[in-house]
Symmetry: C2
Subunit: 147 residues, 2 copies
Amino acid sequence: MQDAFHMLLYHAFHAQRGFLRSCLGRSGLGAGQPKLLVYLYLHGPCSQRELASYFEIDPAAVCRMLASLEQNGFVERAENETCRRTDRVCLTEQGLAEAKTWQENYLTMDSILLRGFSEQEREQFASFLARACGNFHAKKEDDACGT
Amino acid sequence: MQDAFHMLLYHAFHAQRGFLRSCLGRSGLGAGQPKLLVYLYLHGPCSQRELASYFEIDPAAVCRMLASLEQNGFVERAENETCRRTDRVCLTEQGLAEAKTWQENYLTMDSILLRGFSEQEREQFASFLARACGNFHAKKEDDACGT
DNA sequence: GCGATATAATTGACAAGTCAATAATTGATT
DNA sequence: AATCAATTATTGACTTGTCAATTATATCGC
């Protein structure tokens, strides 16, 4: 069973998550929150929907993480003038600084993950992960059609 | 950012988790529980500690999942005669049947994940994941030594 | 313009993990 | 043998994620 593929993926992800957690320190952030900050940093203000879609997570999770981020002063949920249904999530100054820090942390994380990998291996690994991901999505679509 | 490696791993894992969830149906199992059943099926009765160590998860998580499994009749936590501190987690008949089913489900899951991969690619992919995992563990050890 | 329908954010309830603390038992040292 | 330390299971509080339901707003058909 230790060779079962899904367990390898499980363990790799959890090892990564563990490292990420070790970076959190006393920032007040949870393990799922930094990615939101970095996204906002790189793409500018956006709706909660956009965040949920991009990261393929439930809007409810986004909503709660943003509530926490807002309470800790990293983010603001402003009204959107053009559409009062969606809101415009923006980084605060503090959030911007934290986002920059996390962009670095993520680079470090990737470099640990890929330590000892040649450039060619990195590309191959990346392509494998993307293909695996695609396989599951394709399966889901198939099942949906078959309904 | 979509190319950041950690996000590839994140998405692959979540796609896998999503498929797993779609297999749960009305079994009464949660997404983390089947792996415990299969382990007990393959290795026989063991302590909670052993499960937690093998899967590298917190004993508290194991304890709660077993409580749920026990309540649903898949598992029993019996006293261990040789050591009253540890207990002996055993599959029930129902648990055994469910474990067999899940062994199949896991094979299916792996085959979906690896759809379109050659035998050589599968081996390479497995080795990449194991190496990545090892890199994080090595890092953790390093940090611990440095303290 | 109005009504049905879809979409955005939110909330509640749950599962799986984390960490910290506790109680009971075991093992080790002197 | 008695104390002190380590280990096992458990519980509480928390975060991230799921799903289902609700509310408010937009949009589309007529």
